[in-house]
């Protein structure tokens, strides 16, 4: 089992390096294989973490049920996004503006500064950077949940930031440059706060474990009841604020809509479906320590406050978006708010709901972004006031986009309906009536915003004389896989998954 963790640590980097120097077809093929393989490895870990955690590399790598939930979500997106990206980059309708610009003379991997040499979409240089970046980005997100130390977790998340910032900027438009700069700066400030949280929790630990210990999870959790509570409270609030910046929580969400809407669509899907929840994973690790040290009340209040603020703000913004990708970006803030609220309820059933929500949101949001990418490829715009007749023009991806939007707005039978139902049910049994009322109101508002604007652009008659047709079979395949996963989570999750979620929820509960 430990060997699986090592393979996940190594494989995507190697593939990324090879893709950096390969032809687009080879790079795409390798990336899809690596994505599917990583997803398979993540699934193979599921039985192994049923009763105890898996360790590797002298305990520097560690996976328990909680890690595997996030790893599965990330690896799934790695796989489907690579499939989508093949169609997005190399579909038949894309006219290369300039063929093979002789980019090979632009220095080897060491000459990183030449990355700033502009490469137009469609050129070899662009495709090499894109595929390499996609693999490195997926790698950094897959490694974050399997490192054992709070400090290395911080390092991994900082690496996700810098790699994804380059990917946001890769289209080399003014909008992309602006979004990327804001993103890297705001996220780095947030991670600066998270670094302070790491130092503070280290200090709290050193009062019990002595100086010079590694920040491994198991010893920290065992010793947490004896940590000074005031210091742990400080560390927890700093961690929520710091990692919350990465997660897109109000009021530190401001980078998110820009980065999600300006990035290339495959990157948007990874940012929204996986990166945000990886930051949530980091918060959960601090939550585990905090509930052992200061009890459940304080951490849950903090989560609830951030969750409600994010949900309400996002629901309001969802009612006034014109840009399809910005619409989905605000929907991400909404769903991150729901995760925080669900976690604040704390009862097991709500926590299981939160974990399903992580998986279902990944599938739904990626599918929705893929659909937006398909529309943009076909119609050349993401302005919803200009998109008409999406269903008529795109016989496959059009209807699937509508389904994904309905799935995102928690329509049955999809996975998000199930997860939100469990969260609300948990909240009512807790009982947290006010929070549940706000949750239901916010989700309803978001439902109207999303489904009204989203479907209005799609379910209208197509313009006269327009030709029906998809731009790429790869795009359709990726969306189909995403929708099937989303429906499976809603209708009949496999028994293995139920067991994994129950186990992860137990790890997040108070110690027995």
């Amino acid at each position: 089992m430990g060997a699986i963790l090592v393979v996940i640590l190594v494989m995507p980097v190697v593939v990324g390096l090879v893709a950096w120097r390969s032809s687009p077809a080879l790079a795409g093929g390798l990336t899809v294989s690596a994505g599917v393989a990583t997803f398979g490895l993540a699934l193979a870990l599921v039985p192994g973490v049923g009763s105890h955690s898996v360790l590797a590399l002298d305990s520097w790598l560690r996976a328990d049920a909680l890690s595997v939930v996030f790893l599965v979500a990330t690896a799934f997106l790695y796989a489907v996004t690579s499939i989508f990206a093949v169609g997005y980059l190399h579909g038949p309708k894309r006219e290369p503006r300039e063929v093979l610009d002789g980019s090979r003379r632009l220095g080897g991997p060491l000459n990183l500064i030449t990355f700033s040499t502009p490469a137009e979409p469609g050129t070899l240089l662009y495709s090499q950077r894109f595929w390499a970046g996609l693999n490195f980005f997926a790698w950094s997100m897959a490694v974050a949940p399997i490192v054992n130390s709070l400090a290395l977790l911080w390092v991994a998340i900082e690496i996700t930031t810098v790699i994804s910032a380059l990917l946001v900027a890769i289209d080399n438009t003014e909008g992309a440059t602006e979004a990327s700069w804001k993103y890297v700066l705001i996220a780095s400030m947030g991670l600066g706060i998270a670094l302070v949280a790491t130092i503070v929790i280290y200090y709290a630990g050193s009062t019990v474990l002595g100086s010079g210990y590694e920040l491994f999870f198991d010893p920290l959790l065992r010793a947490a009841p004896r940590f000074p509570p005031g210091i742990v409270r400080l560390a927890f609030v700093l961690a929520v604020l710091g990692y919350g910046t990465k997660m897109g929580l109000f009021p530190v969400h401001t980078w998110l809509p820009d980065a999600h809407s300006e990035a290339p669509t495959p990157v948007s899907a990874l940012l929204s479906g996986s990166l945000l929840t990886i930051a949530f994973y980091a918060i959960l690790r601090y939550y585990q320590i905090a509930i052992r040290s200061v009890g459940v009340a304080f951490p849950r209040e903090v989560l609830l406050a951030f969750g409600i603020a994010s949900l309400v703000l996002a629901a309001l913004y969802l009612l006034s978006q014109r840009d399809l990708k910005r619409l989905f970006a605000y929907s991400s803030i909404e769903h991150m708010g729901i995760l925080m609220i669900g976690m604040s309820f704390g009862v097991t059933i709500a926590v299981v709901g939160v974990l399903i929500h992580v998986l279902a949101h990944a599938a739904a949001k990626a599918t929705a972004f893929f659909g937006a990418g398909s529309v943009m490829r076909r119609l050349g715009t993401k302005d919803m006031t200009q998109i008409r007749g999406g269903i008529g023009l795109l016989p496959w991806s059009g209807p699937m986009l509508v389904l994904a939007i309905l799935g995102l707005s928690a329509a049955p039978p999809f996975g998000i309906f199930r997860s939100e139902f469990l969260i609300v049910y948990g909240g009512l049994s807790d009982p947290q009536d006010v929070a549940v009322a706000i949750l239901v109101a916010g989700v309803t508002m978001a439902f109207f915003g999303l489904s009204w604007y989203g479907t209005q652009a799609m379910v209208t008659p197509a313009p006269e004389g327009a030709i029906r047709g998809e731009t790429s079979g790869w795009i359709v395949a990726a969306m189909l896989v995403g929708l099937i996963a989303l429906a499976m989570l809603g209708i009949h999750p496999p028994a293995q998954l139920d067991h994994l979620l129950a186990r992860a929820a137990a790890e997040l509960g108070p110690p027995r």
């Binding site: 690496i159 400030m189 600066g192 210091i231």
Partner: protein, 223 residues
Amino acid sequence: MHPTPDPGTFSGITEGLAALILLTEFAMLRSAMLRSQVRLYSFQSLVVAALASAVAAARGIPDLFILAGLTLVLKVILIPGIIFRVMRGSKVDLAGSHRLNVATMIFIGISVSVFGFLAVEGLDIHSATLPTPALGTAVAVVLVSFVVIILRGDVVSQAVGFFSLENGVSVASLVVAAGLPFIVEVAFLVDLLVAVVVFGVLMRVHHMKADTLSTDVLDRLKG
């Protein structure tokens, strides 16, 4: 065991060094030249390396000597070199990027510093390595670096502000987490280097797109 130096001398030297780091941060708040921002960062990192060496010598933590050496190579020489290289194409050196007048910005800086000191006073933190006031100074450095990032409207100051934030955290970790495992410290530094390269790339891209290092043009995306 290493001889414990006279506590008065040690705390005098280290608190002096910590204060110097904070003063450098204030200089970044007001400095008018872009290239002097980078030099200030280099100098600040040098002082951090000196502080780490002082702690290493006085408390007998040899790992910290290596860390001070790495700080010297990376943060004093390599990183400023990278930023200078990125700025090579830009003829502009006068920043003119203060969003408020200098006096107001310094006042805000002092206010957040005082807040930082008081906040640390309120915590019950005892350090075996450095006098506790140094922690207040470190937190003040972090807070003032936020002010630099927010109130300076050019990419150089914003990037340097972020790097100096990391210096502030380094000082804080010397106070409360001096025993932090070496491998972790090295990971932090490598990470910083990656971040610097990416910041550099984005600065270059911005400069090529907008033909300026000011961030005033970055106002298209709203809502």
